[in-house]
């Protein structure tokens, strides 16, 4: 690098001495100080090499010389051209500046032109407006003279839609005076037209002249009197509603009680009222929309609702009076307070009025849904461009109208009373069904289960027919309470009386059951326990109750499913708020939970049956096993074969005992019971087995007995019983071994598919039952 940068003109090599220190690695002093020949030779060699390198670099530099000279020549030639270019560039810059100024000038002129054009247009517009104004002034006068109110109103409308500043401007003009006068005339005409239209409308309304009413109704919005027009028109419509409603109410009051619709006459009257209003809305909505624009239907309906409320109040007042609604409610309330009153109201008497109230509410809901939908869709059209706030505002108006109208409040009140009365109806009717409970031979269940569910279904169904979700949910809740507390209590008390045993316990049980019967009848008063039944009857009653409990549990699930689909139908028609589905789901899941409570009760009853009826019988039968020796020789073994000592009789006994239950219980319950019984047998048999001793043949005998027993039990139950008898089967295997050590063929790594249910200790215990096995051998086993 240092060599390449060395200045070119300096002669190469010539004065290497003086400046060589920069390019040579050996200084002069160092060379001079060298004395040794080999050192000198080395220094010489290095200097020669350095010289070679320097020579090469110099050659390269010299080679470049001609190129550089050529370039210099070219540069010299370009000199004059550059001067030319500079001149041209200056000229160009001047031209651009000039053009730019010119363009700016032009565009500002264009802008001015544009402004002028706009002003011109405005001027033309104003002139037009002023002309229009004049035209309106003249037109109104003529139209009014000709009683052409539509034309007059059209002129006024044109005048009202003119820019107010135009009018101001025209008054400032040269002809200000004339215009002022004309304007005054126009304003007078406007006032006159307003008065005329109002008067004419009132007159038409008085005469009931619908075409005229509609004619002037259409003029109001032209005069900017939207609210007034709607309010006047609704006044007219309300009058129609009122007169029709009055007519209907008179008809109702005169209705013969034998009339087919007499029981729902007030619901019918409300229906007529609502249908009338709906028809009015339907008929007049197009006019309102066309002449008043969208979003105005709310105002019209708001006015109509006032009249609707007034008429509803009348109908409901009459309903309450004629049907004695409040007194009946009072009576129900009193009956509910005092549980055993002589003046209990007969639930059947409430039936028609309950139906009528739900029908009234259903009609109201239908009507309210109708106006809600109409108003929403009308607002939607009007608010398509509106801000979110306006939309919410409108939604608020609507909610307020629907929630606060007297119709809603009145119906809520009626439904409030209804729920209490329906609850009473349900409870009393259920009590009656329980009291009148009867059982027919050959049936599994007694009458009250079907009756009770019929009643509950009817009451919830009626609540559902009101179309009110809250009413429905309340009745679902009440039904849940009724089933879970009251009705479950009835069945529970029946089960509490127990299943009478047939052995010596009879006496004991008879006493306790008599006490419990007396106790429960004292507590319950209302339930007839039919005194102390005979043992057979008591047995049957217990079994029937078990069946009843099971059917209840199932019926509740069926009821829940039915209600679910019914509710889906109702909701799909648009009834109920946003939370409706969630509310119903929650209430129904509470109801479904009751089904499990009945299942639990069934399980308790079955356990009771198992421990009081089956166990006391089965246990002695199994204990008989102890009296049959299993420490036997060949002779006894073949004797057993001929005369079975135990198992056949045991099976016969079981068969006999279970027949009673098989006939009296539903298949599902019977199956559960046999399941309980097999578990019991397995446990008890294990106990006696461990108390016996066995010879080799005794073990074989036991194995045969166990096989017979399992074979029998398999035929009576659908449960797999192998599992329950797994321990016993394994014990039988052990008792059948030839030698103690043979167990190792089946144990641990040799167990194969067999899973041992016995612990090593138990295996030893069972091995020890074999009298021919030595305890040392057993102890020595490594399990």
């Amino acid at each position: 690098m240092a060599a390449a940068a060395a200045p070119g003109p300096r002669a190469p090599g010539g004065d290497g001495g003086g400046s060589s220190s920069a390019s040579s690695s050996l200084s002069m002093e160092r060379i001079q100080s060298l004395t040794d020949l080999s050192d000198l030779e080395a220094a010489y060699g290095r200097l020669c090499e350095e010289e070679k390198v320097v020579q090469g670099e110099l050659d390269a530099l010299l080679e470049q010389q001609s190129t550089i000279e050529n370039k210099m020549v070219a540069l010299h030639r370009m000199g004059p051209n550059l001067q030319l270019i500079e001149g041209d560039a200056q000229q160009l810059a001047g031209m651009i500046t000039f053009t730019c100024n010119l363009a700016e000038n032009v565009s500002s002129k264009v802008r001015q032109l544009d402004l002028a054009k706009n002003r011109l247009y405005q001027a033309i517009q104003r002139a037009d407006d002023i002309l229009d104004l004049k035209f309106c002034m003249d037109g109104v006068q003529t139209a009014l003279r000709n009683e052409d109110y539509e034309q007059a109103a059209a002129h006024i409308h044109r005048y009202l839609s003119l820019d107010k500043s135009v009018i101001e401007l025209s008054r400032q003009g040269k002809e200000g005076g004339i215009i002022d006068a004309n304007l005054k005339l126009l304003q007078e005409a406007e006032q006159r037209l307003k008065t005329i239209v109002t008067e004419k409308f009132d007159m038409a309304m008085k005469q009931g002249d619908l075409p005229q009413v509609e004619r002037f109704f259409k003029i109001f919005p032209l005069l900017g009197l939207h609210e007034e027009g709607l309010s006047k028109f609704s006044e007219y419509l309300c009058k129609q509603v009122a007169s029709k409603a009055e007519e209907n109410l008179l008809l109702v009051m005169g209705t013969d009680m034998s009339d087919r619709r007499a029981a729902v006459i007030f619901a019918d009257t409300l229906t007529l009222l609502f249908e009338g209003i709906a028809r009015i809305v339907e008929t007049h909505q197009p006019i309102v929309e066309t002449y008043y624009g969208p979003g105005r239907l709310y105002t019209l309906i708001k006015h109509l609702q006032v009249e609707c409320d007034r008429q509803v109040e009348k109908v409901v007042d009459n309903f309450i009076k004629q049907r004695d609604y409040h007194r009946q409610f009072q009576q129900v309330q009193n009956s509910m307070m005092r549980s055993s009153s002589a003046e209990k109201i007969e639930p059947r008497e409430l039936d028609p009025i309950l139906t009528e109230v739900t029908l009234m509410n259903a009609r109201s809901e239908l009507y309210l849904r109708f106006i809600k939908r109409r108003i929403i869709s009308d607002f939607e059209v009007g608010d398509s461009m509106a801000s979110e706030e306006v939309k919410q505002e409108h939604q608020k108006y609507l909610d307020k109208l629907l929630n606060n109208c007297l119709l809603s409040r009145t119906m809520q009140e009626l439904i409030g009373y209804y729920i209490t009365m329906e609850e009473y109806f349900m409870r009393e009717t259920v009590n009656k069904a329980v009291a009148m409970d009867s059982y027919e031979k050959g049936q599994l269940t007694s009458s009250m289960v079907d009756d009770v569910f019929y009643i509950v279904k009817k009451c919830i169904g009626r609540a559902l027919s009101s179309s009110s979700i809250d009413c429905l949910c309340a009745m679902i809740n009440h039904s849940t309470t009724e089933l879970e507390s009251d009705f479950r209590e009835v069945l529970y008390n029946k089960l509490k009386q127990g299943f009478p045993a047939t052995t010596f316990q009879d006496f004991q049980r008879g006493v306790t059951s008599a006490v419990s019967i007396m106790h429960s009848s004292l507590q319950q008063g209302k339930f007839d326990t039919k005194g102390i039944e005979s043992t057979d009857e008591a047995k049957q009653s217990f079994l029937v109750t078990l069946n009843n409990v099971e059917v209840c549990s199932e019926n509740i699930m069926t009821l829940k499913k039915t209600l679910e689909s019914d509710c889906t139908k109702l909701l799909s028609q648009g009834f109920g708020g946003e939370q409706a589905q969630a509310k119903i789901d929650s209430c129904l899941s509470d109801m479904a939970a009751v089904s499990n409570k009945f299942r639990d009760l069934l399980q308790e009853g079955l356990n009771e049956l198992n421990s009081t009826a089956i166990k006391p019988q089965v246990k002695p039968w199994i204990n008989l096993f102890l009296s049959v020796s299993h420490n036997i020789e060949e002779e006894e073994f073949s004797d057993y074969e001929a005369n079975d000592p135990w198992v056949q009789q045991f099976i016969v006994n079981l068969e006999q005992q279970m027949t009673e239950f098989k006939v009296g219980l539903s298949p599902v319950i019977y199956d559960t019971l046999t399941g309980l019984m097999t578990s019991l047998i397995a446990i008890e048999l294990e106990k006696v087995l461990l108390k016996s001793t066995f010879s080799r043949l005794g073990g074989l005998q036991f194995d045969k007995e166990l096989r017979s027993l399992i074979a029998y039990l398999t035929t009576v139950t659908t449960w797999t019983i192998r599992d329950k008898f797994a321990r016993l089967s394994q014990m039988a295997t052990i008792l059948n071994l030839e030698r103690v050590t043979e167990i190792l063929d089946y144990w641990g790594p040799n167990s194969g598919p067999l899973t041992w249910r016995l612990t090593p200790a138990e295996v030893r215990q069972v091995l020890a039952l074999r009298i021919d096995f030595r305890s040392e051998d057993i102890k020595r086993l490594r399990l």
Binding site: Q412, G416, I419, D470, A582, S589
Partner: protein
């Protein structure tokens, strides 16, 4: 249903006179809102909020009821399945406090005897209009053996505490119940005679 992601599910029902702020308390807790100009509740309303307490997911099903008399028969039907009732009054409204005994009678009549009742005095943000002193309410709640708390749905005072404390108490109550239940139930297959008295009336 059982696969849903929670450890406990409790039903809480708010009751009390109209206009004491039941809906606002529920909205504040479930949505963090205080809607001004809240209209009267129609019938019953229903909100759900799942909270975590000591690592356990607790789903609170909160029923907001209408205070107006005409909805009473609807609201009453929800008492029985409620795990807890929040009886609310307005500290600036003597009348709403004076009605409390009437509400307690309703609870007595319709609710389960295991229900937990909490007394809540709402609207403490309007301190200058207070008509019911804290002491009076505290004495009353003590006499009735109720947990008592003052809240402001508007300022969000004590609202969270109200529901979370309640959830804690419900959890410990539920734990005790399952304990009692386990002791009372007979061992399967043991054919133990059944004492019916311990098995009834569990919800």
């Amino acid at each position: 249903m059982s696969m849903e992601d929670y450890d406990f599910l409790f039903k809480i029902v708010l009751i009390g006179n109209a206009g004491v702020g039941k809906t606002c308390l529920v909205r504040r807790f479930t949505q963090g809102l205080f809607p001004p100009g809240q209209g009267a509740t129609i019938g019953v309303d229903f909100m759900i909020k799942t909270v975590e307490i000591n690592g356990e997911k607790v789903k609170l099903q909160i029923w907001d009821t209408a205070g107006q008399e005409r909805f009473r028969s609807i609201t009453q039907s929800y008492y029985r399945s409620a795990n807890a009732l929040i009886l609310t009054y307005d500290i600036t409204c003597e009348e709403s406090f004076r009605c409390l005994p009437e509400w307690l009678r309703e609870i007595e009549q319709y609710a389960s005897n295991k229900v937990i009742t909490v007394l809540v005095g709402n609207k403490i943000d309007l301190a200058d209009k207070r008509e019911v002193s804290q002491q009076r309410a505290a004495e009353f709640s003590e006499a009735q053996d109720m947990y008592y708390l003052e809240t402001s749905a508007k300022e969000s005072d004590n609202v969270e505490k109200l529901f979370l404390d309640l959830a804690c108490r419900l959890i410990s109550e539920a734990r005790q119940n399952t304990l009692v239940n386990n002791v009372a139930s007979p061992l399967p297959g043991e054919g133990k005679s059944i004492s019916y008295l311990t098995c009834c009336n569990f919800n």
